[in-house]
Structures are given as C-alpha cells and as structure tokens.
Symmetry: C2
Subunit: 752 residues, 2 copies
C-alpha cells in the first residue's frame, strides 16, 4: 500500500501516485516536486547552470521557456532545437528525507523517461536504463540522507552513427522514429521525463503488477477469470479480491493466503459484454485486490477496470473461397475484426502523436480528440508505430468510449536488425508495454509496426525483432490478435493523392478497381485553414505559397513524392490560379472532402471482401500548412473531418461517381448503394438522385430498394443522364432517402 500522507513541512512536496495501473491511491497532481534541468556536452560532469523544468515535459521546451523563445511551430523556429538532441541533459530535484515507519521504503517511480538515462542520489549512481516505455521503480531507501539531491541524467538521442539525419537513425532503438523527421513532422527529437513521476512511500509488502485475466467461453456466457499479482513480500500474506459490476454491485469475492503469483481462478456467469460504441455498451467492471499483514492491517491495494469482450481477426467473407490456381500459394490472412462473435466493419483512422513532445500530452487532449473520433463515427484507431505508445489515460478513455485500439510497437519504416543489444531493449520495452495494455478492453490488435514488410523497410517474417514481438504477445496476451505489420498480405496502404501525378487517374477510378482486404492507410491532402496558416507562416510568405518558405518546412511542398502536400499544381489545373489564400484553401479542402468520401464509401461498398478503412491520418503533432490529417493541431477539425463523419454513418445512401470534373452534355453515370454496418434489418424504401447547381435541382433517377439484412449492403442500379447546361462551379449530386433524411448523402463535383 502506498501512503498518501505527505511531507508537508518542507518546501518541496512529494506526489503520491499509484503506478503501472490505476489503483486505490489516486494520483495527486499537486503539489509537485520542484525540478530543474541543465545540459553539458559530455558525461564527465553535471551541468553548472540550471533552469526550471516541467515534469512531465521535455528538456527542449524547458530550455525554450527559460530563454523566452517564440513557439517552435512558428516559421523556421524548430531548427533552433536541433542541437539539443546531442547533449547530456540532467534533471535535478532536492528533497528532505520523509518520515517513514519501520520497514517502509522510499521509491522513485516514473512511468516514463525518454530515452536513455541514469539516476543518481546524493552523488551515487543507483540506476541506468535504456527505454522510455518501462516504468522505473527505484528503491532509494538505502541511499537516503537528511537532505537529498536526485539527478536524472538523460543521454543524447539514440542514433546509429554515420546514418543520415532521418528516421534511419532510429533503427537500433525503441525510440519512436517519427521525431527524426517525417513528411508531416519536423525533425525534433524529444528528450526528458515524459510521464507521471513521483516519490512514493511503500510498505515492505507491495504489489508491482496486478492483472485480472479472463477467457470467455465459446458462447460468451462464462468468463474464466484468473487473478495475478506480483510484487515484494507478498508470499504468505492474506489477500482479498473483489469484482464489482458496472453498477458497483459485488459479483465475486475471494480471500486467501498468497502462495504464488496466481491468486484466484474463478468462473463467472453471464458477464456483461463490452462493445465498440457503434455496436453496444461499454460495461466496465472493477477488479480490486487488497493485501493484509499478519495483524490484519492492509499493506497495499490495487484495482483496474475489466471489460469482458472477445476480439479476433477472422477471415473476410469470401477469402477462403478465393480461387487460387496451381501452383497454389496460401490464402490471404484474416483482417475482419470480430467482437463478441460479431464481424464488424472497422471504420477509423491512423492516430499519430498529438504533440511533438509527448510529455505535454494531457488527458484533456486525449479526451478532445477521442470525442471527435466518436463524432466521426470511427470505431477503430490505429496507433501508428512511428509514434509513441500512448499513456494510460488514452486507453482508459477508449475503454469508456468504446473505441477499438490497434496498438503498434515503436517500429516504423526501418529495418530493425535483430542485434543482441536491440533485441534486449525491445524485449524489455515490449514486455512493459504488453503487461500495461493487456488490461484494457479497448486494446484490440497488436502490430509489430508500420510498413516493415515493404521494400523501403526491408524486414521480413524472419526478422528476429518481429518474431520476438509475436512471441511476447503470445506469451503475455494470447487472446489479442497479433499482426507483424501493416500492410500484411492482401491489405493495402495508399494512395495518398486525389489524382495521379500524370493527371490520368483520379481516386474515383482507381479505388473501385482495388480489391484490398483492408485499407489501413490512404490519404487525401488538404491545406490548413487560413487562421492556422497565419499562425505559422510569416505574413510576407503567406500568398502565393512558394517552396523554400515556411510553407515548405510545414509540409506544403516537397514533403513526399510529387506535388505534396499542398498539391498546388493540381489545384491550379482543376480550378485555375487562385486569387487569394482563402480561395486556394477552399479549393484544397473541397478536394480533400470529396477524395476521402470516395475512399471510405468505396471501401465500405467492397464489404465483406473488404473489412476495414482507416485513413492516413487523423490528427497532427504540430500545425502543418497542408497534410492528410482530418484534424488540425491541436484538435480543430478540417472540413474533411465532417465529410468523413458523414461517410462513416452506420447507414447511408452512397453514390459511386466516375470522376470529379464535368462538362455540359457528358454522359453522367452514378452507381447507387445502401450501406449498412448496423446489426439491424432495413426495410424496403426508395432513394432519389438529384443534380443541383445554384438554385437548379434536377431529378435524374431513383431506386426502389428492397430490404437488407443486418450488416449487409445493397447495390442498386446505375443512374444515367446527360449533364445539363449548369453554370460553371460547384455541382452537387444529392441522394435522398424517403423517410430517412439522416441517410441522405451529397457529393460536390466540379462543373466547367
């Protein structure tokens, strides 16, 4: 048990926190230990100048704050930070010895220190670790003085010597690769204490890890529950374990004497099942363990929530029936998410770090972004392997909100060679990550990382790093699916543009020809709104946008291949030279909206062969000038966000469109669909198709559709017309459903 009574008589305070899992000892956010930081160029000494530090945070932000720098996201300011990745930073805090009872111990605990570090107390080096995802639980007791100085020396950012200044430098560390520079992320490599950190007084007996494992039987009516606890001095102690249902009603209570890690095995009847938000409720049970000493005094307690669900990756319907000629290769692997026996279409997005410096991500930021994910009708987030593994509050909110999380280990677009050193750190980090996240019902897929089986990475099924991750996930969390990377065979990544660079093929043409089993990345770039552009680009550079300006370092030019991400040439080709920044932005956002609608809806039309649509990307870690994201930094939806939200409604009328720009007299053809992802039948009805320009609205066809079974789409007729002599500009294709205006859809096309 953690004592929650603090040293109040001294100028610095100690936070009491329960680490590694939400326990009874609630995190006390204030008052904080007082931290300072400083840097020097080598390891022979410690800094002689100190500045105030925020914990959690990042040394770069502390330095910028102390020196009154302008925001790192304005203009080219980010370049000023580059040198900071190559020096030694040291955190310092001072505290008096707290009052402790007999047998009590003082621990330094941190959920995450980024990336390689030493911990010193009173001039003595007590600890060294490489790895930012393994919590520190360091017993300081033996080295305590009356007045104490705690130092945390952070090493320079890990880099493979001699490699270019890009992500390849990260290929022998378990440091997220994105901060080494990406096509939507500047090079800015965070360092420092990035998650909750405190001093903790513990009894001699305490729990380090508490885990309530369950396995549901085939018909989901029984849960075989096994309760594990590991820690110090637990053997022979009395325990009491209780499980409460979501209404706080006591469901199971077990008592006993601890003789092994496995405390309890019980079978529970009729667990209330946890569902993603678009398929049901999120009943969360509470599992709680208390440990008592010989005198009956409680010495520790922990609790965590439990959501009962069974997640599997099952074969997409039709995959087993695919006709493979001799010589026969394998069938494609499964990628349909099945929750509690129900195959669902996964609609969602690729989540990236919401901040360049993850130490500054707050629970509130997670909340804002996750609220929007539900608004977008997303049931799945792929947490992309180029970024961090998110903090506990992220998963806690996803548990509560019914969002499925695909968690990738921090490997991306590199060949992570399985050297002994690398595998040792990867094993340590993945072990910590899996043990932390396996408790969360929202955590639904493990993935080794991003695009590792593509030729720009060069990893294969033989790569030891991926075999290690599969093995660790199998041992620690076998009931959660594992895939080595995305894409695996049959899945697709890309494309990321509205129209090919040769101008020949638009998304409207290539997407209906695709037959991926899952679209787990696809992008559609759009510019940021004017007010954001004004906040990051000096006024004199704002219009017209040009390469070599802050537009470029904010990813509008030369970000990826071709004319990315502003797509200025393409926009001019469609719409002519823009007269204002506002016009340019409006045109780019229009394209982004329609492109995304096309892909999401076409992927859904390909159900059940296709079972997943996750765009690249959801959010962004700093304000970009143009990006594939749906949401601008920090959490401002673009117009495309609302367009995608419409395309992801559980039920909607959907139109397959042939192309974007039209001329009078052309044959205009549109394919009609009723898309239904809900597990409810839909009765027969009628949808009518209109073309609209200004005040003119012409009916061009209709479809009397039959009913459809739960989770089944309907394909309707092709509607044809000759395009009338509309005025140039926007032309809206509207599909209206009789009696169900909430299923209506609109597509805005370009009339020349």
């Amino acid at each position: 048990m953690i004592r929650r009574i603090f040293i109040t008589q001294i100028f610095l305070m100690i936070i009491m926190a329960s680490f590694c899992q939400s326990g009874v000892a609630a995190i006390v956010q204030s008052p904080f230990l007082q931290w300072e930081t400083g840097f020097n160029k080598d390891k022979s000494t410690f800094p002689d100048r100190w500045i105030p530090a925020q914990v959690p945070g990042a040394v770069q932000l502390d330095y910028a704050r102390a020196n009154h720098w302008e925001p790192h996201y304005y203009a080219e300011n980010w370049k000023d930070y580059l040198w900071m990745e190559d020096v030694y930073w040291t955190y310092r805090t001072k505290f008096p010895k707290p009052e402790m009872g007999v047998g009590e111990k003082l621990f330094f605990v941190s959920k995450g220190i980024d990336y390689e570090f030493e911990i010193w107390l009173n001039g003595e080096k007590l600890f060294y670790q490489e790895g930012m995802f393994t919590a520190v639980n360091l017993d300081l007791t033996g080295s305590l003085a009356e007045e104490n100085e705690l130092l945390i020396r952070i090493y320079p950012a890990p880099k493979i010597p001699g490699f270019d200044l890009n992500r390849s430098q990260a290929a022998q560390s378990v440091k997220p690769a994105v901060s080494y520079g990406w096509d939507w992320h500047p090079r800015l490599v965070p360092l420092g204490i990035w998650d909750e950190t405190a001093l903790e007084i513990r009894k001699n007996s305490y729990i380090d890890d508490f885990y309530t494992h369950y396995q549901l039987d085939d018909d989901l009516t029984h849960a075989d529950i096994t309760v594990f606890a590991q820690g110090n001095g637990l053997e022979g102690k009395r325990f009491e374990w209780v499980l409460h249902d979501p209404d706080k009603k006591l469901i199971v209570q077990e008592k006993g004497i601890i003789s092994s890690d496995n405390l309890v095995s019980v079978t529970m009847e009729k667990p209330k099942l946890w569902w993603p938000h678009d398929h049901g409720n999120q009943p969360l049970y509470s599992s709680e363990i208390k440990i008592f000493d010989g005198e009956g005094k409680m010495v520790d307690e922990k609790k965590h929530t439990v959501g009962f669900r069974r997640v599997r990756l099952v074969m997409n319907k039709g995959l087993w029936q695919e006709d493979i000629p001799y010589p026969k290769t394998r069938n494609k692997p499964p990628i349909t998410m099945e929750v509690n026996g129900r195959s669902i279409f996964s609609k969602g997005t690729n989540w990236v770090n919401p901040e360049i410096f993850p130490g500054t991500i707050t629970a509130d930021r997670y909340q804002e972004l996750l609220d929007l994910a539900v608004e977008a009708n997303f049931n799945m987030l792929r947490v992309w392997g180029g970024g961090i593994v998110n903090k506990e509050s992220f998963y806690e909110k996803c548990n509560e909100m019914g969002i499925l999380v695909w968690t990738e280990f921090p490997l991306a677009c590199n060949n992570y060679i399985g050297t002994e050193e690398y595998l040792r750190i990867l094993e340590q980090e993945s072990h910590s990550i899996i043990k932390r996240l396996r408790k969360h019902p929202s955590n639904a897929i493990w993935s080794g990382g991003n695009e590792l089986f593509n030729n720009w990475s060069g990893m294969t099924d033989q790569s030891l790093a991926l075999r290690l991750l599969n093995s660790q996930c199998y041992i620690l969390d076998p009931q959660t699916p594992f895939i080595p990377t995305s894409p695996i065979y049959g899945m697709g990544h890309g494309n990321y543009i509205f129209r090919d660079f040769d101008g020949k093929t638009e998304v409207y043409q290539w997407m209906p020809r695709s037959n991926s089993t899952a679209y787990t990345e696809f992008g559609m770039p759009g510019p940021s709104p004017v007010e954001i552009l004004e906040s990051i680009i000096p006024a004199e550079e704002l219009f017209p946008p040009m390469p070599g300006t802050s537009w470029e370092s904010h990813h509008a030019f030369k970000a990826w291949v071709g004319d990315t991400w502003l797509m200025k040439d393409m926009l001019i080709d469609y719409f002519g030279e823009p007269e204002s920044l506002e016009e340019l932005v409006a045109n780019g956002q229009w394209i982004q909206c329609e492109g995304y609608k096309c892909i999401y809806e076409e992927a859904r039309r390909q159900k059940p062969w296709c079972s997943m649509a996750l765009n690249w990307c959801y959010n962004e870690p700093w304000p970009t000038a143009a990006n594939n994201s749906l949401i601008n930094y920090p959490s401002k939806p673009k117009p495309a966000f609302y367009a995608v939200s419409e395309s992801c409604r559980p039920v909607l009328a959907s139109a397959r469109i042939q192309k974007f720009s039209w001329e009078t007299g052309e044959k205009f053809t549109v394919g009609l669909f009723l898309l239904n992802d809900q597990y409810e039948e839909i009765g027969a009805g009628k949808m009518t198709v209109f073309l609209q320009s200004g005040n003119e609205k012409i009916e061009i066809g209709s479809w009397n559709y039959s009913g459809t079974r739960p989770n089944q789409n309907l394909e309707g007729p092709l509607v044809e017309t000759v395009l009338p002599d509309f005025l140039p500009g926007k032309m809206t294709l509207a599909v209206e459903v009789e009696g169900h205006p909430e299923w209506n859809s609109e597509y805005v096309l370009l009339k020349y």
Copy 2:
C-alpha cells in the same frame, strides 16, 4: 553417468543407453528386455493374453506376427488392422532389481511411445503422458521390488469424436495425420513403443540435456559458444568441457564449478564451416562435457557433434524490386536458403515416413534413402508435417552427408484449433522436438506444418498453435529460420499431374508461366514397376488395372482428384490402349520422367526469382501401385529418380520444350539454357541440339554461349525447325555440350 555394467545373471537383460543425445555411453543393441503385449477393450483391467512384442515396433505388427498374417501391404490385408486402433494395448516386461550402488537410481527411459500411455510398476501407476515425441525419463527406484513387472498401457489412437474416418480426426492431437489415411497411405494408425527404450542406472547427479549453442559473427570467422547443461544434482559439481575439431584435435577446454545451466561462454576463432554436400565439406566438431563429484570421480558425461554454419532465409533476388501498385500490399517473404553467406538453389524433395509403422524404421533404412538423395543431387529434404519427426539417426546422417533438412511439426491439412488441451500437448511436444533437433547442423528450417494456410485446412497467422510454435522456436532456436507452413505467400504447391484433366494444358505450358518464389511441392505420378505390382496385387487383378481392385486401395484409382494416380485414361489418350502391364508401366514411367524433368529444370531456369524445387514426394511408406514418389518402397528408385538426378546436376544444358507429342511438319521450337548452380565460373562454349528417332539424328541448331558467373544461369536462343518425317514412337531431343559431355541432356518426346 550411466553404468554400462549389466544384470547378466538373469534371463532378461537391461539395455544401457544414453538417451536424448549421443553420449559416451553407446547404445547397446543387445541383449534386449523381453517384451510382450496384449489388448483389451477398456481401461478397467489389463490383458489376460500376451504375445511377444518387438521394441521398438508397433502393436499391430506384433499382433500380425503372432497370428501369422500375410504382409499388411498385400491386397486388402491392411483392412484387417483397422480395429486395432480402438483398443487398449499393454506392453509388459519383467526384470529383477539390478545391483545398484548407494545413491544410484534405476530409470525407465524411452525416446518415444506412441501416443497416449500410462506406465505401471508392480501394480502402481507411476506415470501418464500424451505425446510420442517427448522422451520418458522415469525414476523407478522408489517402487522397485526384487522381481518387477513393468506395464505400459497404450490408449486407443487419438480421434476427435464424431469426425469422419480420415485425417480430420487427428486435428486435436500431436499425432502425425498421415496414418489416418491419405491419397498414398492406407488408414493404418500405429501404436506402441516406437523408439529406443531401456532401463538405465544413473548416479544421483546426471545430465538430462546438454547443448552447445553457438552464434557466428557477421564474417563467419568467430563463433561465440555457450555450453548449457541441465539435469539433476549438478549444482556445485566440477565440470570439464572440451571441444575437438573434426581431426580430433583439442580446440577448447574449460573447467569449472557448476553454478547455473550456463556452464561456459567462449569465443572460438576460425571455425571450419559446415556446408551442404554440393557446396563444401561437413566438418563435425565434438563437444563433450564431464561431471565430477567431490572425490574427483566422473559421475556423468555427454557429447554431441557440432557443425558450424549460419543458415538464413533471405529475399530472393528481385523480390524487393517487385513493382507493387497502390494500394500497396506487402512484399513477398524470403525463401532463398543462405548458408554461410552463400545463397543456394535448394533442390530436393518431400520426405515422407519410410514405413507405415515408424517403430520399424532403422538407421540402415535412413542410410539407403539418404545415399540416394545425394545421388539425386538433392541438397534439401522437406520432412513433411503429415508424418513423424524423424529419429536421431536421420539427423546424424544428414549432418555427416551434408543434407539440409526442413523439419515440419506434426500438423497437416487440418485446422488445429488452439484449445487449452491441444496447446498444452503441442507446447510439450514442440519443446522436446526443438531441444533435440537444434543441435544438428543439418536442421535448417522449422515449419509449422503442411498447407495450413490453404482453405482445406483453414488455419491463419492468428492460429494460436502456429504462434506457439513460432514463439517456441524463437526462444529455443532463434538462429534457425521459422516459417508457419508451406506454402507461404509467393510459394507454390502443385500441380500434381502431367496434363490437366480437360486435356488442354500440359506441364510444358503451365510451368514456364508460373512465377512462384519456390516450388515446394509438385508431383508427377508414375506406376510402380511390374515386380512390385505383382507383390501387392493378386494375379487375377493385375491386368488390365481396374478401380475397385487392389489397384485402387494402392492408390492407382480415385486417390486424389480426377484420374489419379495411375492416370490410365491420359496414358491411353497419349499412347493408345496398352497391350500388357509392362507397356502400361513403361508409358506411365516415361511420362513421369519427362514431367519431372520439365518442372525441376524450369524452376531452375526461373532462378533467382525462384530459389527452391522440392517435388512431391521422395519415398513411400508402403508399396503403392502408382504414386508421385521417385522411390518405391522400401528404397527402390523409379526411372524418374534417375531423370530427376540428371535435372538436378549442378551444371547442365537444359531445353525448354513446348509440348509432349508431335506430328511431322509441325514447327518445333526449343529454348536453350545453361543452368549453373555451382559457385564457379563457366567459360564460353558451344552446345548443339539434335533430334533423334531410331538411328536418325539431325542437328537442328546450336548456341555459342558466353561464360557465366558463379551460380548464374545463361539463357540462349530459340532453336526452330520443321519436324521431319520421323517414325512414330519415341523421339529424343538431345542437347550436347562441346567438351562437357557430363552436361549433356536428353528429353524423350512422343512422335505420332
């Protein structure tokens, strides 16, 4: 240490053997314990009638022997054995208590008992195990009397209740599926003691497992060696470890006191490297451990051979460059075998059980078949997952002979659902298999099993059984490649016929259009020679072959799809109604020869995109009437064996042929190749192409080829002619290489 002094004063004797690895205590083959067996229908009693039993062997063979049955392979005799799989068999042996010193123990040891069994001593049940691949090491000491009766009760063959009488019954056990019936194997499910079995006197301290692990550095000039030993009473004992080179010269010697399983870590310079026979020598080192007690007396010793090699699966050349359009899926996985840094083309075959009853497989049988494999120019054997994991002598010979072994776990063509019970047995069995085989340099690939990712099996990357196997191999033997099954993505299985059943496409046409990265199964059926047919088919059924006779139960009719395996209809279509059995057999064997030559050589022409050609299958477990095998039971090569041997020469002239049967005046076109798998350059030269019929031999073209680099093929010109008016019958295409008659090739085609 195992005492090798025996109880000679009594009628029954005890074999002393060193189990689990070849140790200093050589296996004494005689005298044997005297065994008997008998059966009864349930577990409530033991048999009351006993017959002599051979150990190792099979209860079915004991019963047949005792009842003077005709061979199981003659006519329909195999059907008489069916009932035996459903009863309880018990082995019995009696022995007096041996003389043992203070602290010595008597162990019952068996390398394999098939499949689920109990061991009783003097009326007391001491042991139960499910699984035939985990050795038994049972301490009998505490239950010994002056006169002892040891019983081994074998349970009925494992079956999933209610399933059809075929391989599907094996899908929840680690029992090889083949014996439940296959298209070349009758239903005959072996039961009994199938590997070396004895009583053993041990000191109180003994070694159970001894393993010399090494890892070669990148340039293969240093081996980091770690010596492990596990056993009983080893801690605190003195050890001596020595490594001798192939010339018995002492290379390393280390002494110490045992404090953990890891005894020694040393680096050795310049190890002599082990190669497959067609690329180098097979230097085998000897690693030996001795354990001494406090008085300096040796209490145990073990040794095993070590072959230093690095095996990897690396990307086939060109795979990373494959142009994948958006949406991009993954690149295909690697399947080129790299040994000691050299990419080699794997030529070989699929090995099946050489006996229906694996207890009767001897080291001599392995030797005969492996000698033939070298004669066939094979460097790789895929030990197919439908059969057993072979005995130690198989791997020892492959070590000595330089044959690479691809070892599959016993899963084949079923969906092995990951129930808790199944995974527990699979973990036990795979653990035993990996720990045994990881010592052998010949063991080069682990595979989860056969065709598990195809729709007739229904397993996927998510199957827990395959994740378990990958995890176990990663933990116990990470340096050896693991693939979940064959085929994986890009590899091909099949086809298994010379001509499609619709008569439209021959192997000559489909094979050049294929682009598999490896052909790991492909078949070409051929009838067995007349003398074998006469030994298995009653005289009155011999000619003409008809369905519903012993031809059918020996796989000539209705074995697989279509007209398999005799292909009688196709043969009549090509050659007309045969007038004799001899003519039919000759025609079928001709087709088999030419079909196999076409596939092996075409696969080699597709190098480096293709890197492997392994036909289905090498041998057979009983005499078939017709089969894809190259070798008839027990080890008699078919003509196709010699044809394949020619096609697998390291260097040869090779012709790409358009079709099998020809008429006068047709345009005859042949593509010329020089195939070179050796790592030596070939100088410029000339090859000339002839067509020959009877005594007529016409030159139709030639090719002055340039030199070629090591391991590189050359593609030559197309040679064209108008087919002359040859007599009907055999027409030979001969390609002759000036100065290198050993590279000449011949193809026998049909002239109408």
